[in-house]
Subunit: 195 residues, 2 copies
């Protein structure tokens, strides 16, 4: 074992523990408190395992899971930006700097691997990235369904906005997008989401 390499790996694990203190705009399904980035990543990783059969293409699940595990680590430096916030358009530069700093704590081979996976997820050019994004979007939508639209109501989100911002789900899973569209209509009917 190369001790210096191993210590870098452990130091990286200690550093990324900070995502456990980055709160999202979504709550737990029990609505008891806001969810943090580590918890969110765990949930969607598990969703990736269970829902693979609905992906448009065959996917390499190992790559999907790796992407989902690390996709929010950049928020340690860049913070969590709400999907519907204006700042969303300009956050990319600070997230990129964060990716370089944080993944750069590892030796070059692993730093490169994680950075590439992060870029792949962001640019969604592969089947794996497209499918990974489905899970990242499905969780908060389903959470709003279960919890009667609490985030949508709090931030004045309407059906058009949800459709516009989440249409990328279709790129990864036509079947899940069809489910989401019907669910959103049901949310409007039930008064969870403004028309």
């Amino acid at each position: 074992m190369d001790q210096a390499r191993f210590r870098k790996q452990l130091d990286f694990i200690v550093e990324v523990d900070k995502v456990k203190e980055i709160l999202r705009k979504s709550k737990l399904f029990t609505r008891s408190r806001y969810e943090n980035d580590a918890e969110h990543s765990w949930t969607i990783c598990l969703m990736a395992v269970l829902l693979r059969e609905y992906a448009n293409d065959e996917v390499n699940l190992e790559r999907v899971m790796k992407m989902l595990l690390i996709h929010d680590i950049v928020e340690i430096d860049a913070g969590d930006t709400f999907l519907y916030a204006k700042e969303r358009a300009t956050v990319r530069a600070s997230e990129e700097a964060a990716a370089r700093r944080i993944f750069g704590l590892l030796e070059e081979d692993q730093a490169k691997e994680l950075y590439s996976l992060w870029i792949e997820f962001e640019e969604r050019a592969t089947s794996e990235a497209k499918y990974a994004r489905v899970l990242d979007r499905l969780e908060p939508i389903f959470s709003n369904y279960v919890n009667e639209g609490y985030t949508w109501k709090e931030h004045g989100i309407s059906l058009d906005m949800v459709i516009e911002k989440n249409g990328i789900v279709e790129e990864g899973s036509k079947e899940i997008w069809a489910f989401v569209r019907a669910l959103l209509d049901e949310c409007v009917e039930k008064g969870y989401l403004a028309k």
Copy 2:
């Protein structure tokens, strides 16, 4: 899409969200609060990705990650039992019942897959399970190192006890076990762990 099947998958995700409220005896690396099972699972899944090169055998990382994602779900019903507690010897029956109930929320094919992975992890008969257990043990030990033995001191844990309960690390990674042994000696020297 089989809607009934998909709803079972989503209902499972909602049910297992409860692990986010199961607290462990370990704290975050910043020591700000106790860690929950979902956060712990996320960390060790990421460790599995980074530390694979130290596994005694070649491992299928997808299977390792799946095991780590689900290994603590049974604690929703059975609770978290401290590694050094006497109850540890008798908790297996209630964990088994929990596994049947919770994985049984899914359709039979997926229920069977997750149940088998959970049993595989518990019985550590495969290279994947042995490696997965390394990460599950390494995290709290390293957390105690970083945080000056807080859990060990709180519960009166000594070097012999840590060695006895964590010797299984060697089955999955001789290199990591050698690192851990040296780290434990350092912990004794520094006063983090009783001799």
